[in-house]
């Protein structure tokens, strides 16, 4: 049954695939493609090649670049200042991905059951709001909420937890989790809405069958809802992981990587190395490693969702 739902969504493009290819005006197609390919080539592909090239040089951006071999890469994987950025980003994935997807599933299930249609549409609009505002504005708002006189401490004081109040983004132990929670705030709504739309598409007869089999709410969730949402979950995980790995705006605005090095992420480090420390080669090596990590993280998720579509 679940497979039937999946293949049904796939059938439209497949049909198009079988009936086309009758006439292919072969050269004309390229005329339509060339403009897009050229801007893409000039402003994306060429810079990627340059990043790779720079990463093998030691260059201050002004003088003649010196060949550095693999020295920059060795630094990325041994210099604690740089390796720590990779550790931090791994921790950010926990917040950016696990919370929005996990809590999003719960919220979507709730919205599915309790709310009227009007509540659902208002809920979607409110939840999607963090996607509309610039991350910079969200960062400013949150650094105020988490500051020593911010709302979070206000609430903690009111419920008698004065002793744990602090400047959350300025504390070595809480700064990175705080940044992570801001990211979770940004992404929770998007994931919730995506998952709730996905739940709306699940065939009702699957639930009826589960009820007939005597499944409770919880078993129903794991036996029917979760497997049917495999594609939506894969999408959420992909989107949130990419935004964790390429986090820049929020960190730049809230902490600048501090206190000390506590919230330094690869994106911000690349920026600082290249434009303030004038270590263009090292910055490029870190950027290249970041690009590879993104691909390595995304590939398993993509193949998982694709496999489920082909079954």
């Amino acid at each position: 049954m679940i497979q039937a739902v999946n293949t049904a969504t796939d059938s439209a493009p497949r049909r198009a695939l079988t009936t086309r290819a009758r006439h292919r005006p072969s050269h004309l197609g390229w005329l339509f493609l060339i403009p897009a390919l050229s801007v893409y080539g000039i402003f994306v592909l060429w810079p990627i090649l340059q990043t790779i090239r720079y990463s093998f040089y030691s260059w201050d951006g002004v003088d003649k670049p010196q060949w550095a071999g693999l020295r920059n890469f060795r630094a990325v994987f041994t210099d604690p200042q740089l390796t720590s950025t990779l550790v931090h980003v791994a921790e950010l994935i926990l917040f950016f991905t696990v919370i929005p997807v996990g809590l999003g599933l719960v919220l979507a299930a709730i919205m599915q059951r309790v709310t009227s249609r009007r509540v659902t549409s208002v809920a979607r609009a409110v939840l999607i709001l963090p996607q509309i505002v610039p991350l910079v504005a969200a960062g400013i708002a949150w650094s105020w909420v988490l500051s020593s006189s911010g709302v979070v401490n206000q609430v903690l004081q009111a419920i008698g937890l004065r002793h744990i109040t602090r400047a959350w983004l300025g504390d070595f132990t809480t700064a990175l989790p705080s940044v992570g929670l801001i990211g979770a705030w940004v992404l929770l709504g998007l994931c919730t809405v995506l998952l709730s739309v996905g739940m709306g598409k699940i065939d009702a007869s699957l639930y009826e069958a589960a009820v007939l089999d005597g499944a409770g709410r919880i078993r129903e969730f794991f036996a029917v809802t979760l497997p049917s949402l495999r594609n939506e979950i894969a999408v959420c995980v992909t989107v949130t992981m990419i935004s964790a790995l390429s986090a820049f705006d929020i960190v730049y605005i809230t902490t600048q990587g501090g206190p000390g090095n506590a919230t330094m992420v690869p994106g911000l480090k690349v920026y600082q190395l290249a434009f303030f420390n004038r270590q263009v080669g090292l910055a490029s090596a870190l950027a290249l490693v970041l690009m590879v990590i993104v691909i390595l993280c995304i590939m398993p998720v993509q193949s998982l969702s694709r496999r489920s579509g082909d079954e």
């Binding site: 403009p35 897009a36 000039i42 994306v44 810079p47 610039p134 708002a141 390429s246 290249a274 290249l288």
Partner: protein
């Protein structure tokens, strides 16, 4: 029955809590913006004498009019061009399917998950060599290129889903490829193009990294980039900063409230296809 009511209650409370947390930063920003300029108020407190003119002061301090025009002209420079290029390419890949088109599509796909930080360093030197640093073109041109993977992917998916009978009928009537594109397919692509336009507008308006690296003058940046400079300048004056941040997110908020449904749909489709 009571068990169900209890469940409903818990669900409603949880949902309400998430609403509060979602809206809390905005509320805190708003009440803070009304406190006396230069003071250090508590996170969420209504001032005795709300200082509404803080918004006027922030508007002047940040030269908001100029920033708004700058951001708008960047959007107008990026979005229509990106849409035209992506529609042409999407039509080629989804409908015309030239020899080697699959390879071209794979090349576009490769850029779909690219983090901007991966190319920002060479992009700086490239834009410098083009003598475009500190102009709006420094943001406009790279953004068009950076949007291509997603935009082409999006438009290709649309043209793939179009029934082929349509084109065959037009061909039999003697339509050229261009006529087929312009008269038949383009009008039908309007929903896909609208959604793409909404997404690209949000992303451009909120673009930060390109703006702070390639353009020094806040008045030639996007709204988000200008806010970064504003924070650097007024970071110690919390009420003024809060007022400025609110002003900067207002235009997109108004557009969102007007086109709310389109926005939600576009964002959803955008992430599913992306």
């Amino acid at each position: 029955m009571t068990e169900r009511r209890q469940e409903t209650l818990i669900s409603s409370v949880l949902l309400a809590a998430v609403f509060v947390v979602t809206l809390l930063p905005f509320a805190s920003l708003f009440t803070t913006a009304l406190h006396t300029s230069g003071t250090y108020p508590t996170g969420l407190s209504w001032p005795k004498h709300p200082q509404w003119h803080n918004f006027v002061d922030a508007f002047h301090a940040a030269d908001m009019g100029a920033i708004f025009l700058s951001s708008t002209s960047i959007v107008l420079g990026v979005v229509p061009v990106a849409i035209v290029l992506a529609t042409l390419a999407g039509f080629a890949l989804g409908h015309l399917r030239p020899r080697g088109g699959r390879a071209a599509f794979a090349v576009f796909l490769a850029g779909l998950t690219l983090p901007l930080e991966g190319v920002i360093v060479p992009l700086y030197y490239e834009i410098r060599d083009f003598h475009l640093l500190n102009t709006r073109f420094a943001i406009i041109l790279p953004l068009i290129g950076l949007y291509m993977p997603f935009a082409v992917y999006w438009m290709r998916a649309h043209f793939l889903a179009m029934p082929n009978e349509l084109s065959e009928a037009a061909r039999i009537d003697g339509a050229t490829t261009w006529q087929l594109f312009w008269r038949i397919h383009l009008p039908l692509a309007r929903p896909a193009v609208t959604a793409l336009g909404i997404l690209l507008t949000i992303w451009t308006w909120n673009q930060f990294l390109l703006a702070i690296v390639l353009v020094d003058d806040p008045k030639k940046r996007t709204m988000a980039g200008a806010l970064g400079a504003f924070q650097g300048q007024w970071g110690t004056n919390i009420p003024l900063l809060a007022a400025g941040a609110l002003l900067i997110l207002t235009p997109m908020l108004i557009v969102f409230l007007i086109f709310q449904r389109n926005f939600v749909v576009a964002l959803l489709q955008g992430s599913v296809k992306g």
